[in-house]
Amino acid sequence: MSNALSALQGAKFDGLVKVADAGLQGMITLRGDFADAKLQAAVKEATGHDLPQQRAMALQGDTGVAWMSPDELLLLVPYAEAHACVAGLRAALAGTHHMVENVSDARAFIALSGADGLVREVLAKVVPVDMDPQHMPEGQMRRTKLAQVAAAIWMQAPGEARVVCFRSVGTYAYDVLCTVAAPNSGVGFYAS
């Protein structure tokens, strides 16, 4: 596993906010029946968290779970543990209709950091999401469109946002974020 490369290979940019490769992150697509106690237990076992409500996520370090759709979850686990976690989930869910796929390498993972208001403004330039702190607090994830590509975003902490997109467009998303994070392009909309 030592030779695994993240999509952006450590790129970083310093502008209105910092834009940087967030590195390798284990990600697992889990589809199944949310009402099934077996599935709930398997998620708890794998991530330590209960199933999230609609649009919500629970995250502790690099382990967590996010709501993707009424029958799909995104599990976040340490990158090195993703394959083992997939095997564990498949075993735990054997006999029920489910799907577990490792998608860690299918993704680019980008971190934005800086003043909270500016991080929100940089994202608001390229995602049609209500970035108001009351409407986009920590503990929420949005699947959305970032400029011209699909992406998911969340606030990790005040002034810390994460962007997930497909690996093939990681460079595009990174370039877009760096462009709209150009110095002197603050909007002055969100308090910092």
């Binding site: 489910h98 799907m99 796929e101 995602v127 999401v129 595009y172 709209v180 110095p183 909007v187």
Partner: protein, 1005 residues
């Protein structure tokens, strides 16, 4: 002459001079000036020539409605044509030139058109340029291109150096317009605790009220504005934005705001324009009103200006248009202009009031100041050419017999005011004709409606037809409260501050001055200043049968210029109504479309330019390909290496080298872009049997099968190899371009039709890098890496196996798209480059080299394998391609089955796939048609087939091709003709499409 007054000008800072140039002439203004006020302060009355007759034109308005004052702004990379002087803030170093004249603004050849105006009537273009037909291309079009257009297009090599961006926000109430109505509405909604955004298109708050006077809550309007701004700034739930125009209102409360971030300070870093994309529960349109010109002869001569604008220039900028200003009006408001001028010590020789009964309290005030007021009078004509020298006065009731002439340098005209209903109308808000005020105003009972059927736009103040200050404040507070309640606030208060009320005498509609003006006068009475449309043109259109206002607009070009008829529309349709003998509401208005005023192309493009113009998809090995100097081709949004030319090689030579290497030894292909969909569940087999034409449910675990996918209309839409992973899991490969489309296709059927089938699909295309190792030495390369048994026995053709190659976890498929011994190796994308490097190293002794998509295409064509998009085009069914073997006869159903049984699909005359070999070994032109005897009903040659793929085959050293040919498979050996576009006729023999290794011995080793 126009000049700067000794004092005054609430918006200018006389302490700071600003240098600029107009037509190369260095001029100066003050900070806070618009380009218009600065030009006028320098006595630059004439700012351009009109579009059609090249008549001298001056500034006529003071805001967004200005039709005449358009300039080429900036130079080189910064040049922008048609920039409006009234909305351009002055900055140091501004450089502009006037438009639409040659050789100079003062002396212009095209002005001869004005003497030819009787030969350039409405619909001239339609009448003149229809015949003779051949003249269009060679005479008329070049002539029109030469003479048309206002501004100059930037040079072809110029590149905009500025940046642009979007900004997305959500709001409860979006208030557009920062006059007193907008401020009051924002206060009301803001106090109710809602998320409020207030946008104002100019650089200053307050709008007209601060110019027009009057008191609010006992204090001057400016005090109210200052207090309101201060209170709004203190509210964390309210955001204020100057220089941001509400450009358009769209469905679902979506509004575009156009912010000109640094047009006024171009040296300031940061984006030039920002396009706000607002999702709001409620919109309040407090966009004010626009004054209408009066239609009298010579109303376009520089120095004739809207009365409100004359007032604006004095009060806001300390600029007078002339020493002696005649005011001409049909309403009381214009008296305010006379009073302001008089108070400034300027002369107002007369107020010409078209109303026989005259004005009210303001008229009395004017008389008290000693101004001569003439009731029931009109302007017969304006005297002067490049500027006003006087007016001839006549009776409004007559035909224009001149009673006297009055010398003056300026004319302030007012035909009444029209509410700015644009934003209300963009999304379907209806209008009602208010006869007493002679205006269209929003019909509150027919607002634009949202998804819930309720209105989501409310007009406030003058935009709602309320012109009296007290009424404006009440209306705005009500609008604010109504919007707040609709957006969910329960505590909104209707309370409005008290304001002055001035009793005004009623306006009298005056659409033509004098009312019986003769044709000579009507031909000089302008309606649309920018497009040169006169009263006589609209009347002619009516006589020629144009009854619909939309048709008359297009025929005469009324309102079709860059100002979209902000001044001309109401006057024009009133003239049209009169000519048609019908009431104005029956004629109706033309359609109001966004944007309110033109917005920059840069703002529309946002950040999408240069390397982020479009997303480019890159495989995990993309950087390596780039480093090798690969020549890329777009495949969907991917960039795939077409070939890897070495120094001195042409692309064709590179492709041939890559093919020979694959056929003779071993090559490597980056196949990561191929779609990979995991399909899993108890019903997955049954589902795939419906998706594919052949059976997939009976595929054994560990095996692969080639499958075809058809649309429900039977047409071939995708193909690829399917692998059975375990009892209830399949992996479906799709074409590169098909990955997302086929995923969506599967989800569509699962979610909409077979929602009760237990199947999940996940697109894992990007999780895996896929590397094809292809050629007789492929096995040796893998064996060198070691880690798993890739022998024929352990991993035979059309099977797959999991394992490791030199420590990297892989899944290897024994599938072949080239006819060679071939392994497609899937690996986690993060390790794609690592595995690629290992394979390169291991293959070095066999001369391994990467090959691109063109080699891939030729290799498959040599084997007669079809390519989706080449052999198919959305009209081709598998049977056309002789793929009957891949269509299950056992299955009761699959998508496309029933369609393929239709008579036209089963027609033996459908063109079918064959191989084609030119007699001389040359390469057939791509897409060429095979001709048959005779001609069709259109006099064209009959066709009997076409080329679908054609290449030079280095393996066979000759051209090879595939094509669809009538009765093709039954005509083996026949020679048919393919005329090329090069004038040559290519003769080709119909042959078997498999050109190489017909028995498949090479791939099955």
């Amino acid at each position: 002459m126009s000049t700067r007054l000794a004092k005054g000008g609430r918006l200018v800072n006389r302490g700071r001079k600003v240098q600029f140039s107009f037509n190369g002439k260095n001029l100066s203004g003050f900070e806070g000036d618009t380009l218009a006020s600065a030009l006028l302060a320098n006595d630059q009355m004439m700012v351009g020539r009109s579009f059609k007759y090249h008549r001298p034109r001056g500034v006529v308005a003071a805001g967004a409605e200005e039709p005449n004052g358009l300039v080429n702004l900036g130079e080189g990379n910064q040049l922008e044509p048609n920039q409006r002087v009234t909305t351009t803030e002055l900055f140091d170093g501004l450089s502009c030139t006037s438009q639409n004249h040659w050789p100079s603004l003062e002396f212009d050849i095209g002005a001869v058109n004005t003497y030819l105006s009787r030969f350039l009537p409405a619909g001239f273009y339609y009448k003149m340029f229809m015949y003779p037909r051949a003249f269009w291309k060679h005479v008329y079009e070049p002539f029109i291109r030469q003479s048309a257009g206002l501004g100059r297009a930037p040079d072809a090599h110029a590149r905009d150096q500025d940046t642009y961006e979007y900004f997305h926000i959500h709001a409860d109430v979006l208030v557009i317009g920062g006059g007193v109505a907008g401020l009051q509405a924002a206060l009301t909604a803001g106090r109710a605790g809602l998320r409020v955004v207030l946008m104002e298109q100019t650089a200053a708050w307050g709008g007209r009220a601060v110019v027009d006077g009057g008191t609010i809550a006992g204090k001057p309007a400016q005090d109210f504005v200052d207090a309101a701004i201060s209170e709004l700034q203190g509210m964390p739930n309210v955001h204020l934005r100057l220089r941001c125009m509400g450009a358009g209102v769209y469905d679902h409360g979506y509004v575009l705001g156009y912010e000109r971030v640094n047009d006024h300070a171009p040296k300031q870093a940061g984006p030039r324009h920002r396009l706000w994309k607002v999702r709001t529960a409620q919109v309040i349109s407090a966009t004010g009103a626009i004054e209408r010109p009066l239609s009298f002869a010579g109303n376009d001569i520089p120095g004739v200006m809207l009365a409100g604008a004359v007032r604006d220039y004095v009060v806001n900028f300390g600029v007078s248009i002339g020493d002696r200003t005649v005011v001409v009006t049909n309403n009381d408001d214009a008296y305010r202009t006379a009073i302001v001028l008089k108070e400034q010590g300027l002369s107002v020789p007369a107020i010409i009031d078209a109303r026989a009964s005259g004005g009210g309290a303001l008229a009395d005030q004017a008389r008290a100041l000693g101004i001569r007021v003439e009731n029931g009078r009109a302007i017969a004509k304006v005297k002067g050419g490049r500027r006003v020298t006087g007016v001839a006065i006549c009776a409004q009731a007559g035909e224009g017999a001149v009673l006297e002439e009055i010398a003056c340098d300026a004319v302030a005209m007012s035909g009444g005011w029209s509410p700015v209903v644009h934003l209300w109308s963009h999304c379907g808000g209806k209008l009602v004709w208010d006869a007493p005020k002679a205006m269209f105003r929003p019909n509150p009972d027919a607002p634009p409606t949202g998804a819930d059927g309720q209105g989501f736009v409310i007009c406030a103040g003058a935009a709602n037809g309320a012109f009296d200050l007290a009424e404006v404040m009440r209306d705005a507070a009500q609008a604010g409260a109504q919007a707040a309640r609709a957006a969910g606030a329960s505590n909104a208060s209707d309370a409005a501050p008290e304001a002055d009320s001035v009793v005004e005498a009623p306006l009298e509609p005056v659409w033509l001055m004098p009312q019986g003006a003769n044709i000579k006068l009507r031909m000089k009475s302008w309606l649309d200043f920018q497009n040169d449309v006169k009263v006589a043109d609209v009347q002619l259109a009516a006589r020629e049968g144009f009854e619909s206002v939309e048709h008359a607009k297009r025929y005469t070009t009324l309102g079709m210029a860059t100002d979209q008829g902000k001044l001309s529309n109401i006057n024009g349709l009133a003239i049209l109504s009169d000519a048609l003998g019908q009431p104005i509401p029956q004629t109706g208005t033309t359609t109001f479309r966004p944007p309110y005023t033109p917005i920059s192309m840069g703002a529309i493009a946002g950040e999408a330019r240069g390397k982020i113009f479009q997303p480019i998809r890159r495989t995990p090995m993309h950087a390596w390909h780039e480093a090798q100097g690969a020549y890329f081709e777009p495949v969907g949004q991917w960039r795939r290496p077409y070939c890897y030319p070495r120094s001195g090689e042409t692309h064709g030579q590179a492709v041939s080298r890559e093919i020979r290497q694959v056929r003779n030894s071993v090559g490597m292909l980056d196949a990561s872009t191929l779609g990979k969909l995991v399909v899993k569940g108890p019903d997955a087999g049954r589902f795939l049997d419906m998706m594919y034409t052949n059976m997939m449910s009976n595929l054994a675990v560990g095996k692969c099968r080639y499958g075809l996918m058809c649309s429900e209309n039977g047409f071939l839409m995708d193909d690829g190899v399917v692998a059975r992973i375990d009892e209830d899991t399949w992996l479906c490969h799709t074409t590169t371009g098909g990955a997302d489309r086929i995923h969506a296709h599967m989800e569509d059927w699962l979610q909409c039709e077979w929602w009760d089938w237990n199947v999940y699909v996940t697109n894992v295309t990007e999780q895996l890098a896929q590397i094809a190792v292809v050629g007789p030495n492929a096995r040796k390369v893998l064996e060198k890496l070691g880690g798993m048994d890739v022998s024929k026995e352990a991993l035979p053709f059309m099977q797959w196996a999991d394992g490791q190659l030199d420590g990297i976890a892989v899944r290897i498929y024994r599938i072949s798209f080239s006819g060679e011994l071939s392994y497609e190796i899937a690996v986690d994308a993060g390790q794609g480059q690592a595995l690629w490097d290992k394979l390169q190293a291991a293959g070095a002794e066999f001369g391994v080299m990467p090959y691109g998509t063109e080699a891939l295409h030729v290799l498959r064509a040599e084997k007669g394998f079809i390519m989706i998009g080449d052999e198919t085009d959305g009209t081709v069914i598998p049977q056309d391609l002789n793929l009957h073997w891949a269509i299950s006869k056992k299955k009761t159903d699959f998508l496309g089955k029933r369609a393929q049984e239709r008579s036209h699909m089963a027609d033996p005359n459908r063109w079918r796939l064959v191989g084609l070999e030119t007699l001389d070994g040359s390469v057939l032109p791509d897409g060429a048609y095979a001709v048959a005897d005779g001609h069709n009903a259109n006099g064209q040659r009959n066709m009997q087939g076409r080329v679908t793929s054609t290449y030079y085959s280095p393996t066979l050293d000759r051209g090879i091709a595939m094509g669809l040919v009538l009765h093709g498979p039954e005509r083996m050996g026949e020679v048919i003709d393919f005329p090329g576009t090069d004038g040559k006729v290519y003769k080709a023999r119909i042959v078997d499409p498999v050109f190489f290794d017909k028995d498949g011995e090479k791939q099955n080793v």
